[in-house]
Structure formats: C-alpha cells, structure tokens
C-alpha cells in the first residue's frame, strides 16, 4: 500500500479537561478533571492502534476529542496533515466523511423507524454523495461486505440480533469510505462467538479497504490479538505504549502488568496474579505532580520520587516501546 508509513493521524499532547461536578449546585467547583492529560500517538495508514485501559482512563474521551465530538482543551490533532481543531464548521463537516466512529451499543445509534437500507444510506445523503441509484448501489455493496443479506435490507433494527446490528453500525461508518474509523468497544456487548465474527469482519474490511482503526478496548486479550500498536492509559495519561507484540511480550509498567494479570484465562490457573487495590479515581487537586498511578501502584506506592516527579515516557529497548515509570520492569509476574 502506498504511503503506509506516513502517519494518517497525529495526536500531539491532546488534552480535554472538564470542570469537576460540585456537590453543591450553588457553589460551582473550581476543580478541574483532566480526562485526557497530554496523550500523543500516531496512526499509520491501514493499521490498528489500540487505546487500552479501564473505565475512567480517558480512552473514550480521547477518541471523541480526536473526532471533535467534544472540543479538545489543548494539544493538536491532525488528519492527513489537516489540523482538525482549527477547522470551521463547514470544512469540519466535510472532514467528518474521512473519520467515522462505531459505537459499543449500535442499537442506540440506529433509528428504530428506519429500515437497514435507509440507515446505511443516511450518511451518504447527509454528505450529499451520489444520486439515488449510485447510493443504492453503494448501500447494497456495503451490506454485502458486512454480511447482511440483501433480502433483509428492508427490515428494521429490532429484527436483528446484537451482532447483526453491530454489522449495520459498521456499514454506516464505512459506507462513506473513511480513512479513519474509531471503534469504541465495538464487541464488548456481544457474545464470544459473535465477537469473533465481528473481529474477523473488521480485519477483512481493513484488508479490503485499507482503513485505519483507532480501537478503544478494555479487554487485553482482544487488544493483543487485534492491534498493531497500542497505548495503555491511566487517568488520561499514557503509561506504556508500543507494538502489541513487544508490549505483551515484555510489559514494563506496573499498571500494564497488573492489568494483564487480572484477566481470567482458560488454561492458565496460576498464582501469578497482582490484584490491584482500589479503583480508578482521580487524585484530586494538588495531584499534578508525581505519577498518577502511584496510589494503586504495587511498586511505587511509598517511594518519594513517584510522589514528587511525573515520570516521562522513555523508550525501552526499541524506539517504539515507551514507558512512563521511574522503576520500569521492577514488577514481575514470574510464577510465585
């Protein structure tokens, strides 16, 4: 594929803060919640980049800020060299054709009164693409690609299973022939056997259409299997990133290791589990210094430097593998 090594998407120190909700409606809170706190990564053409982490880690907000579904409060996002945040409404609308999104719950995005054909045609109409005949041809081709039989095209969303509705959601995103699709947990509401169908479909479509994916996922097994490269997020910051192969073969950050060890697996009933204490929760004001993971970190909880200094992302081994930790590799999951 031409230009495979030129980044399609460049995310540079992306930030999105919200004013924290106050418990007293008459006294607005001054606290700022940094949902996305300086995330940088690039996505090449035709590749899948994963954003991995637990709920509240900022992965979905990051994705929405990239697509400008929420306005970023800092940093830069460029798609094919175009600065996304600086665009006025009309050029932004045009650009949206090139970057689409698939949601976890397709049911919520599908108008129950519309037929599948109308649902897949809708984005084409919105973007003023083609006449009725061209659109029909495009919709038919797309439905065939995602495996929805033509004779079902006049049915409504409720007549389909969850997996098929997700296929319809994918068809709606891809019918515009976008270069980038953000997949926000596209399989986590589905059964295992159906998950496999959808993952296979997404891979096939990527091969056929050369589309790039930003894949938001909490399931590390799926991330390892599906992503070319990925970033592990915690409280809006990148803890570790690199190629999936390397990151899973040689995880360095205590958070990555803890996440990996928490996944229950068939055929691996071992004692090598680090059960993390506590839950993802912002540290509150005055927490701008130090490592955001320190409160739950089995390595750095009581270490001065972890409380004082925010660790920078530093390369580990190869240039592509980076870790934000003062003591990378110290936690190990060797069988106890």
């Amino acid at each position: 594929m031409t230009g495979r090594d030129i980044p399609l998407l460049v995310v540079d120190r992306l930030e999105k803060s919200f004013a924290a909700r106050s418990s007293n409606p008459f006294k607005p809170s001054r606290e700022i919640l940094r949902a996305v706190d300086g995330i940088s990564f690039t996505v090449l053409r035709g590749e899948t980049f994963g954003l991995v982490g637990e709920s509240g880690c900022g992965k979905s907000t990051a994705a929405r800020a990239i697509l400008r579904l929420v306005e970023p409060t800092g940093g830069r996002v460029t798609l094919d060299g175009i600065d996304v945040a600086s665009l006025a409404a009309e050029p932004m609308r045009k650009l949206r054709r090139r970057m689409q999104m698939v949601f976890q719950d397709s049911t919520g995005t599908l108008d129950p009164r519309m037929s599948v054909r109308e649902l897949v045609e809708e984005p084409l109409i919105v973007h003023g693409i083609g006449d009725a005949a061209t659109r029909r041809a495009k919709v038919d081709a797309m439905l065939e690609l995602v495996g929805i039989r033509a004779e079902f095209a006049n049915r409504r969303p409720h007549q389909f299973s969850g997996g098929q509705r997700q296929r319809i959601g994918i068809a709606r995103a891809l019918v515009l022939e976008p270069e980038l699709v953000v997949l926000d947990e596209p399989i986590s509401a589905l059964d295992v056997s159906v998950q496999a169908q959808i993952l296979n479909l997404l891979k096939d479509l990527q091969e056929k259409l050369g589309v790039s994916y930003v894949f938001i996922v909490h399931d590390l097994t799926v991330a390892e299997f599906f992503c070319d490269r990925l970033a592990v997020l915690y409280l809006g910051q990148v803890m570790e990133s690199g190629s999936a192969k390397e990151l899973f073969a040689d995880p360095q950050h205590p958070y990555t290791l803890s996440l990996l060890s928490a996944v229950p697996r068939v055929g691996a009933k071992t004692g090598r589990r680090t059960v993390l204490e506590g839950e993802v929760s912002p540290l509150g004001s005055g927490a701008s210094k130090g490592c955001v993971f320190r409160a739950r970190c089995p390595v750095g909880k009581d270490r001065a430097i972890c409380a004082e200094e925010r660790p920078a992302l530093r390369p580990h081994g190869t240039a592509d593998h980076t870790v934000a930790c003062h003591f990378p590799g110290e936690l190990s999951l060797a069988p106890a």
Partner: protein, 344 residues
C-alpha cells in the same frame, strides 16, 4: 444419585422445562435440564445470550412470571420440591437458604434507600426478632466482611454514592446476610473492569470458602469459569450439552460447541490468523431444528444425517478428573480421538 452419603444434594434440578407462551405457541427456553449442586460446590452454567441460562436461574428461584411457566420437572432443594410452592413459601427461601446476585447491582438496589437500610431490611425479613440496633451492627460487620472501606460511615450512603465494584460488594453482603447455603450469581462481574472483576472474584471466592456456601455461577466468560468453578455445565439452546469437571472440559472439550466456544476466544498464540468464529446464530427457539440444536452451526456434524434428524442422548465420558456427560452423537468417537491426540 451416586452420592456417597444418604443426604440429598443441596440442589437437584430434574428434567426442568420452562416455557413461554407466545403468539406462535409455547416456546421452551429451558429444555429438560437436570443438574446437581452439592454443598460448598462451585458450579458454572456457561453459555451465550439466549441459551436459557438466566431463565434456568429464575426458574430455580420461582421467579418465572406469566407468560412463562415451568412446564415440567422438579427443583429439589435439600430434597424438597420448590416447583409449585406458593409465593409466600418461596419468600421464606429466597434471601435465606438461596440468595441471588445480579449482574447489575444498580437495578437490584433501591436507589432511594441507604445501603445500610437495605442490608438491615434483608436481615430482619428473615430474622424478625433481630433488634434494629443489632441488625445495624450486623450490617456493619457484613460490609467489613466484603471489604468496603469505612464500613460504618458508608452504611448511610445511597447506592449511587458507591462505585460499580463497591455496589457489587454490597450485593454480596446482602446475599450473605442470612447465611445462605447457595448463592446464585448471574454474571456478577460482567459489568466490571478487569481489575475490579479480579477483586470481586477473589472476594467471592474467599467468602464462599469461609462460609461453606455453594455457588451456581451463570456466566458467558470461560476465563471466569476456569478460575472459579469446580464443575461446568455448558448450555446451548435451552439444553445442557456438556457437563463435567471444569479442568477436564476446558482442556479437552468433547462437544463441538464447547470446543468452538473455546476456539473463538482470541488466543495470543495464534496472532495473525483468523479467529474461529462459530458461523450463524443460535436457533430460533420457536423453530428448533428437529435433530441436534447445534447441527446447523457444527463444524463436525453439519449435514450428517443422524445430527439433522435425532436429538442426541447424553453420553458418559471418562475424563482424567472424573466423569463428564456430553449430548453429542459422536461424543465417544470425539473423546477417543482427543485422548489419542493428547497421548501423541
């Protein structure tokens, strides 16, 4: 029963069929299911959406409402049949001998009552003599037991003040309140993050061991089954198609459905290959195939005459960790082949 003691097992379900009346006639969501849960045993029912696993749980607890009904079979709790018991009789059992943990604690907890009030209600419903003060003290103990920090203070918080993981701990506390013999947990960790799931599973494992409670765990997650359960029952289209010791079944599944389910989990060892998805979808319960329900999707039996026409009877298979039962016409052949592969 082949049980070594004369005592009846804690729970024995025999030939249970649960139907729902629809415009197209009665549709069976649970078909002729039999299963046994012994004291302190952890049994999994694993299957995909619509396989009938939740309906089975609700049937056991007598929570099937119209248009549903238990068409046949028995639910024996310590030898006593629960099918047909009045609602008031069931109420003395639910929350006492058998308690239930749901996937979504927010839906199970009352949003306008404090967590403490709800635990105290549960305690006093089955122990009317308990004073409010004693119930409150017991509630604090229960919250401590499920490792809710600052239990005394958090007792007066409302469910929405709790995080998802903490709410599930509250559900476990409520389930434990009246010292049950059996907890039925329906996808208890499905809505949680992996690290919280690990915490909640570790907690559940500890409390059921401490109290000697048996667990019937309903889940779609084979990883959770592998870590948590002694015995697994694989359910497909309303029937239990394979059952036996967890380790043996997950390491060497005999039923093609169990094998296919295991193979559809992404395996890091096979990166770059396609996942082995199961083609198609589970059958429409109102239009079941006349033979084996899995035949249309089965990589082994699809198109074979016997699979298309005859419902397979359970076949007993000897595994390394005890007997298993498989509803497949080719169970013996497949098991023999699998052990040849394992031996070579």
């Amino acid at each position: 029963m082949s049980s070594t003691t004369n005592q009846p097992p804690l729970l024995e379900v025999r030939g249970l069929t649960t139907e729902f009346a629809t415009r197209a006639g009665a549709v069976a969501a649970v078909r002729d299911v039999s299963l046994t849960v012994r004291r302190s045993e952890k049994v999994a029912i694993v299957g995909e959406s619509g396989c009938g696993k939740s309906t089975l749980a609700l049937s056991i607890l007598g929570l099937i409402d119209k248009p549903g009904r238990i068409a046949s079979g028995q639910v024996l709790l310590e030898g006593r049949d629960l099918v047909g018991l009045s609602e008031s009789a069931m109420k003395t059992i639910r929350g006492k001998t058998v308690s239930l943990i749901f996937q979504d604690p927010m839906g199970a907890l009352d949003p306008i009552k404090t967590v403490g009030a709800q635990i105290i209600d549960t305690l006093r419903r089955h122990q009317p003599g308990l004073s409010h003060k004693a119930a409150r003290a017991r509630a604090v103990e229960l919250l401590r037991e499920v490792e809710v920090p600052a239990a005394e203070r958090r007792l007066d918080d409302y469910p929405h003040h709790y995080s998802g993981g903490m709410r599930q701990r509250v559900m476990i506390a409520i389930a434990l309140a009246n010292a049950p013999d059996l907890i039925i947990a329906d996808e208890p960790t499905t809505a949680l993050d992996v690290t919280t799931q690990a915490q909640v599973l570790a907690l559940l494992e500890r409390v059921v061991a401490d109290h000697g409670v048996a667990v019937l765990l309903i889940t779609h997650n084979l990883g959770v089954v592998a870590e948590f359960c002694d015995v697994v029952q694989v359910m497909y289209a309303g029937r239990i198609v394979e059952r036996g010791p967890t380790e043996a079944i997950l390491a060497r599944p005999t039923h093609p459905y169990t094998q296919a389910l295991l193979e559809s989990i992404p395996d890091p060892a096979r990166i770059g290959t396609r996942l082995r998805a199961i083609p198609g979808m589970p059958p429409d319960l109102s239009a079941m195939p006349s033979g084996c329900a899995f035949e249309p999707r089965c990589f082994f039996g699809h198109g074979r005459e016997i699979c298309r026409t005859r419902q397979p009877a359970p076949v007993e298979i000897e595994t390394t960790s005890g007997p298993s039962q498989v509803e497949c016409h080719f169970a013996t052949e497949r098991a023999a082949r699998a052990s040849e592969v394992a031996a070579s």
